[in-house]
Symmetry: C2
Subunit: 245 residues, 2 copies
């Protein structure tokens, strides 16, 4: 079945496979550990190429990558975050509000590069193969580009933080993003002093990791594997192998 | 700065880093190459754990994973696809319509496992850290889970195809997905005879890969690197190294 144009269909060698899992399991949303160290152009180029090779509905490749290095622009964006975050804080009560207030939720000024990844919903016209029924598919494609970049960055030793506490119209205005373009992710990128062993919100006691056993259903909604879940042993092995809680 | 709980902050060794890029650059949306070979439980467990370690807004982990192996359910889902695809075809004209008609856009029956990944928008209540202003963030988190699984699958030698040509309400009804849950991705999973060297829609002449140079802006919307783009050399190196067009 293999043609001359095909790639090998076998699994990666064990070490290569494990590297992919290591990137996935040790990726973190970074806010506090950025170092003021320049990201070389070849590294940045690889990250962007990784994002550009995300799946996209109808191969429309709806993304753009707006790199922000200007201190002035970063300061403007951080001011928008602060305003929105003051609003956000009021939505939490009592101890949650206190904990929320103590959390650092962005590294906009600390990260050497900020990156806004956007979606052009009409890149290839109104009618898009695969988007005829699920209109959000191009937005989802752009999120896949974010995740590709995030994992590539982890392998490069670069931390990424996704800042989502903005009024969208203010973010668009500050970055002069055209009307028909949707900002999907505002990311902070930089080398880090460390990657935390577990997600920061988990360590801070905001929420706990859910047991995967409870989230996987078999053929019928709500039907978990129960006491004899055939996948449970694998989950346990992975928890031990990769050392997370 | 490193604490006893921290992970190393340096880049992965070259071979491990390259493995991550290999997964990213050789991942494909598979429709036609599925083999009727069982996916072992340990492999499936790893894929699901990879998905479960996606970033999620406010650490809400809004996803569920509905595994579908029942031939009857698959047949029901495929019938929904066929109906929607007949509608979709009429939206394209002339040569595009002919080409659309020739494309195989799903492998629902061929893939040993189908997987619907969903988003529970109220998993942790109405107010979610990081979702106070961008209400779509939990949907985007779930897409990150999809992409994690897709890349892990590539490393395992397993192909994944995302089928999006459905009426959402019909898909929900066929899978008895509760009202408050949003299906994000309907995926077909299986070992494959080959991974295509380039995306299937690119090979079929549907659309071409866009030059990354045109998609990256510097500090100002629309400001490309131009003739002296510092990133262009890296892009060219990557194109040669990974052998894509």
């Amino acid at each position: 079945m293999t043609t001359s144009d095909a790639l090998p269909s076998q699994p990666f060698p064990d070490a290569a496979r494990d590297a992919v899992y290591q990137a996935i399991f040790s990726r973190r949303d970074v806010r506090s550990q950025f170092l003021p160290k320049t990201i070389p152009d070849d590294v940045l180029g690889r990250l962007l190429m990784a994002a550009h090779h995300a799946p996209s509905v109808g191969f429309m490749q709806p993304w753009n990558f707006l790199l922000i290095r200007s201190a002035e622009t970063k300061a403007r964006i951080q001011a928008l975050f602060r305003k929105a975050n003051d609003e956000a804080r009021t939505q939490f009560k009592d101890e949650r509000k206190d904990l929320y207030t103590r959390l650092k939720l962005e590294g906009i000024l600390d990260a050497p590069i900020n990156l806004c990844i956007t979606c052009d919903r009409e890149r290839t016209g109104q009618t898009v193969l695969g988007r005829t029924h699920m209109k959000e598919m191009d937005l989802y494609s752009t999120v896949c580009a974010v995740q590709n970049l995030w994992l590539a960055a982890r392998a490069e030793g670069i931390g990424v933080g996704w800042v989502s506490i903005f009024h969208q119209h203010e973010l668009k205005s500050a970055l002069a993003i055209p009307e028909n373009i949707v900002p999907i992710a505002y990311l902070c990128l930089g080398y880090v002093s460390e990657f935390l062993d577990r997600p920061e919100l988990e360590k801070a006691g905001w929420l706990s990791r859910l047991p995967l056993e409870d989230l996987v259903f078999h053929d019928t909604w709500g039907q978990t594997g129960g006491e004899h879940d055939p996948l449970a042993e694998t989950y346990e092995t992975l928890r031990q192998q990769y050392g997370y809680a």
